[in-house]
């Protein structure tokens, strides 16, 4: 009953603001003016891919619209004559004069700049959305930008690129985990075509699961999270897959030192439907049979990714997409077998109800599973399985009411199925009993509405509200713990019962004041709830860490973040600058007791300790979009703390991601028609760490007595990477193109600390010393990329 009342409130709220904005519009403009809608789709002329975030600017009104993730835009204006300017970074700007006396459908194909550089006329309408959009704490990168960043072993990586942004910290050298504005790595929602990716790591995190050939566009929200997203405290990383070339067949591929890639795409029916299929596999182990070491010959160690997508444009108003991802890491040797990976699937129906009301409906599947075991035939033979599966349905609506109001609303339901772990003996000889952590199930629901409203000449306000709800449903087993976290008894719930319901109101607010589109100030507030978390108390984690849900014993985590910033563009928007400050409060933050047992533990909830966290910082960003030179330079000053009952005697301590000063320089320079160079330099204060201050001798071993939590720091981290790309000669009409990329990771061979161990000397057991572990010295690599089309 309570829930339905809340839903009613939300609908009322939605209705009220839609009504009020309509009212404001008519109030301002009177009833005499007729207004009409211009709408359509903005795509890439060469391959038909929808362009996300392209700008349609109306010169006369100094306002405009931005295309959504499907490339659609809509503008409702008064009757009159207008000059529309279509623009997108890396594409030629197009101007078109229209006489608006009726609704107009105007789709447009933008043409990308070719490699050969021409003197390009810089127009004042170049993208100024950094200044004029009421959106802050976000960063969008297209895949071309990411591909120019020098990469570890030549494997271009979305997550590694994200880690170079201000406010984002890597959790460890070479790791795919990242912390956003002092949050934990599991507080980031990672979406691939709307499906949650629960573990973005391959090979212990050295590579992420995102094959760059299959990816179109990446957007990170570090704060100011729009109301249509929910479920994580700190960030949303929204990754969209390519749709496939709808005009011609294309083959792209690459051969690197550890992996090769191949992508095939093309039209099924020209301009109407297309497909893309993209695969990647590492092949270090293919050489193992050649090894002289007998033990190594049967070892396996590889990962693969397969991305596939088809889309079909039924008519102007309907388009459907089906996309999937399958990836797995496989490892085996004489005594162990292990594999893990994600599968996601998304079916989407994009429907335009009218020129102003767009919608999208999605059905989403996501699964993360792992397996660990021994060969059978032994009395200790066993296998261990775990998985987490989601089934979801989602509807999102955008209503482009007029140039002053854009309303969004929608709802989603996800059914989570947790199979945390089951280990059992296999084969006839085994003596191992079955150990199983009970399965559990939950519904996660969200409903939201928001409006972006322009008030007067300079002021824009974006306001929204999300209601999230989380319900544990049976069958399930809930343990009851006493005040010292000992399980006393348990309750078993039958299938179909809802045994715990949490809900949260999540207001989102953004304010913008722009000074004649040259510079602006912005502020935002967002509250976020998180109902799922990772049982991981190590800094980097392994693929065997499991996700667990809010429950009668685990309260949802809640965060409030405020941010304010100043944004200014220079040189006709080719240089974007911003400075942002933020403060974030987190409640019911999860940590684990000392020496927690998180593996195959059916009383995991007794290992949890709760508390609060807070973080704050200032991020300065200069982003360059010059014709030859692009990239960014950023500096971040930030702090992050935790205070958890039962940890560090209840005193506050620096979070593991507290690195007060960090700098990233990411630059790419096009030298000429065939050469380009890229360089990355990163610097960060050393991560906080707990070191021993005393020793006790117990059982012949020197046992450490530790400082307070995280009272020391590793040495500062810094690293320079460099890459040089040499392209084959390009001529119009040439079907085969190639480039060769040389890259060097850690050019000046700094031995950055991965961990420090305190070791007891073998010769003299009274002597202890500190030993630094580092993972990578200087690592050169070479990658050959090719592109073939049937033009």
């Amino acid at each position: 009953m309570i829930q339905s009342k809340h839903l009613l409130f939300l609908f009322l709220f939605l209705f009220l603001f839609i009504f009020s904005s309509t009212f404001t519009v008519s109030g301002n403009q009177g009833d005499k003016n007729k207004h009409y809608t211009i709408s359509g789709k903005i795509t890439d002329k060469t391959n038909g891919e929808a362009l996300v975030g392209a700008t349609v600017f109306i010169r006369e009104l100094k306002t405009g619209a931005v295309s959504d993730v499907y490339g659609n835009y809509s503008l409702t204006l008064d009757e009159g004559n207008y000059t529309l300017v279509f623009s997108y970074i890396g594409y030629k700007t197009h101007e078109q004069v229209i006489i608006l006396t009726m609704n107009i459908a105007l789709s447009f194909e933008l043409e990308p700049y070719q490699q050969q550089l021409k003197e390009v006329e810089i127009t004042s309408e170049k993208n100024d959305r950094n200044v004029v959009k009421p959106e802050m704490s976000t960063f969008r990168m297209d895949i071309k930008t990411i591909q120019r960043i020098p990469a570890l072993m030549g494997e271009v990586d979305v997550i590694k690129a994200i880690q170079l942004l201000p406010g984002v910290q890597s959790v460890g050298e070479g790791s795919s985990g990242f912390s956003v504005r002092g949050g934990s790595p599991d507080q980031n929602l990672i979406l691939l075509d709307e499906a949650t990716v629960y573990n973005a790591s391959h090979l212990m995190g050295f590579f992420s699961v995102f094959n760059n050939d299959a990816i179109k566009d990446v957007k990170l929200y570090k704060g100011d999270i729009p109301a249509n997203y929910g479920g994580r405290l700190s960030s949303v990383l929204d990754i969209r897959m390519n749709e496939g070339n709808s005009k011609k067949y294309e083959i792209n591929g690459g051969i690197g030192i550890i992996a090769s890639r191949l992508t095939v795409e093309g039209p099924i029916q020209k301009d109407r439907s297309s497909f893309i299929i993209s695969g990647r596999r590492t092949y270090a182990d293919l050489f193992l049979p050649l090894s002289s070491d007998k033990a190594l010959q049967n070892n396996k160690l590889y990962f693969y990714d397969l991305n596939a997508k088809v889309n079909y444009r039924i008519n102007e108003n309907n388009q459907i997409f089906l996309s999937g991802y399958f990836g797995r890491d496989v490892f085996s040797n004489g005594f162990a077998r292990m594999n893990w990976g994600n599968e996601t699937g998304t079916f989407r129906w994009n429907h335009l109800f009218s020129k102003q009301l767009f919608s999208n409906f999605s059905f989403i599947y996501s699964n993360y599973s792992y397996f660990l075991g021994t060969p059978d035939g032994n009395n200790n033979s066993f296998e261990w399985n775990s998985n987490l599966r989601d089934l979801g349905i989602k509807g999102d609506f955008s209503y482009y009411l007029n140039t002053k109001n854009t309303i969004k609303f929608g709802a989603s339901v996800v059914y989570h199925m947790f199979y945390p772990g089951q280990a059992k003996g296999i084969g006839a000889q085994t003596v191992i009993n079955e150990v199983k952590v009970p399965n559990n199930y939950a519904f996660e629901t969200g409903i939201y509405g928001s409006n972006e409203q322009r008030i007067g000449e300079h002021f824009t306000v974006k306001y929204g509200l999300r209601l999230s709800m989380f319900q544990n449903t049976g069958p399930g087993t809930v343990f009851h713990f006493d005040s010292s976290y000992k399980a006393i008894d348990s309750t078993i719930y039958k299938a179909g019962t809802v045994y715990q319901t949490y809900y949260g109101w999540e207001p989102r607010l953004g304010l913008l004041y722009d000074f004649n589109a040259k510079h602006s100030i912005k502020a935002s507030y967002a509250r976020t709830y998180q109902y799922l978390q990772l049982a991981q108390n190590s800094t980097v984690g392994t693929p065997l860490d499991i996700w667990f849900a809010a429950s009668p014993n685990v309260k949802p985590q809640i965060a409030d973040q405020i941010a304010a910033g100043y944004f200014r563009n220079f040189r006709h928007n080719t240089i974007e600058t911003s400075i942002e400050g933020y403060y974030k409060w987190m409640n019911n933050v999860i940590d684990f007791k000392d020496f927690a047992n998180l593996i195959l533990n059916n009383k995991l909830e007794g290992e949890i300790r709760n508390g609060k966290g807070w973080s704050y910082g200032v991020e300065i960003l200069v982003r360059l979009n010059e014709e030859r030179l692009n990239g960014w330079v950023s500096y971040t000053w930030s702090r992050s703390f935790r205070q958890i009952n039962g940890i560090n005697d209840g005193n506050p301590y620096p979070a593991p991601y507290d690195k007060p000063n960090s700098v990233s320089v990411v630059l790419n320079y096009i030298l000429g028609k065939r050469w380009s160079i890229g360089a990355t330099w990163v610097y960060a204060t050393g991560a906080p760490v707990t070191f021993p201050t005393g020793r006790a001798e117990i059982g012949g071993k020197i046992v450490s007595i530790y400082s307070d939590r995280n009272q020391y720091r590793y040495q500062d981290y810094h690293r320079l990477d460099l890459s040089v790309t040499f392209s084959g000669k390009q001529k119009p009409g040439r079907k085969f193109n190639w480039d060769l990329n040389f890259s060097v990771y850690n050019l000046y061979n700094r031995h950055n600390t991965w961990s420090i161990n305190f070791v007891q000397d073998n010769e003299n057991p009274n002597v202890t010393y500190a030993e630094k572990v580092y993972l990578f010295g200087i690592i050169p690599s070479v990658t050959f990329n090719f592109h073939f089309n049937n033009d």
Binding site: M204, I698, G700
Partner: protein, 282 residues
């Protein structure tokens, strides 16, 4: 076993990391009492060692705590312990006739002659748990595991199903203790075997490349299986994890939790033993 297996697998996947010795400046901390010793169900002389903590890079033998008054009680009787070299050793031993009784709870009392960080009286309590009968043991050599092969020590015993048990394993080679430091000892709970007949379960792996701690055909080996408390099991697990910092799965470092009150460190353990002997065959 399965949990350790996870560590082995993950570590073996690690691309060879590099290490180098470095200098780290560490602060000092206040001194604590350290208690280290045990009693068991066999008639023997048992020793309890008392020492003080020192700064981490002290790099000399830790100072002994001498001239303390130490005694054991089982709730009915008192057993005094005497310092082996009074004023020098800090090692306190029972009579050679001492025998721990199964399922009794023992308290170790310590009164210091000089207080350590303001405390001079310490107690530690431990129940002496029983243990199942060890029927027999055996060895298997796996030549393909590791560089020079691995020896597996297997055991045969009935695991009691009506209780939660924790085990400690020690191995003797030709009368000499091979598992001579706490990090080499093996502990296990009964999670995967509860109530089963442990029909040749692997309990200890010996790396044949480590000549000083492996076994050879012809050696006489004895496996000691001890029934320990959950608290002692956790303590040994914590000591074994402490100091190891592998970012993949090491939790934040923390002080090990023993059973000495008033801020003392270490453990006073009590357990019962079951032994089995075999001669190693290839």
């Amino acid at each position: 076993m399965i949990k350790k297996f996870r560590h082995i697998v993950v570590v073996s996947m690690l691309i060879a990391a590099c290490t180098e010795k470095i200098n780290v400046n560490l602060d000092s901390t206040y001194t604590r009492l350290v208690v280290d010793g045990n009693i068991a169900s066999d008639t023997a002389t048992y020793q309890i060692r008392l020492t003080k903590t020192a700064d981490y890079f002290f790099n000399e033998p830790v100072p002994p705590v001498t001239r303390a008054s130490v005694f054991l009680s089982d709730g009915e009787n008192i057993f005094p312990l005497a310092e082996t070299k009074p004023g020098i050793s800090g090692i306190y031993s029972t009579d050679s006739t001492f025998v721990g009784k199964k399922d009794k709870t023992y308290t170790l009392h310590i009164d210091l002659s000089e207080p350590i960080s303001g405390e001079s009286a310490f107690d530690a309590i431990c129940k002496l748990n029983h243990v199942t009968h060890l029927d027999s043991i055996g060895t298997v050599f796996e030549p393909d595991w590791g560089k020079e092969g691995i020896w597996k020590i297997k055991l045969w015993a009935q695991e009691p199903g009506n209780e939660v048990n924790y085990y400690l394993f020690n191995l003797y080679r030709n009368g000499k203790l091979l598992t001579d430091t706490i990090t080499k000892k093996v502990v296990s709970d009964d999670k995967f075997y509860n109530g089963s007949y442990m029909n040749g379960v692997d309990v200890i792996y010996l790396n044949n490349a480590h000549k000083w701690e492996t076994i050879n055909p012809g050696d006489t080996i004895i496996l000691q299986m001890s029934g320990i408390t959950e608290e002692y099991y956790n303590f040994i697990m914590q000591v074994q994890q402490s100091g190891l910092n592998i970012p993949f799965f090491s939790g934040p470092p923390a002080n090990v939790k023993g059973n000495i009150d008033h801020g003392g460190i270490g453990f006073f353990a009590a357990y019962s033993n079951s032994f089995a002997k075999t001669i190693v065959h290839r």
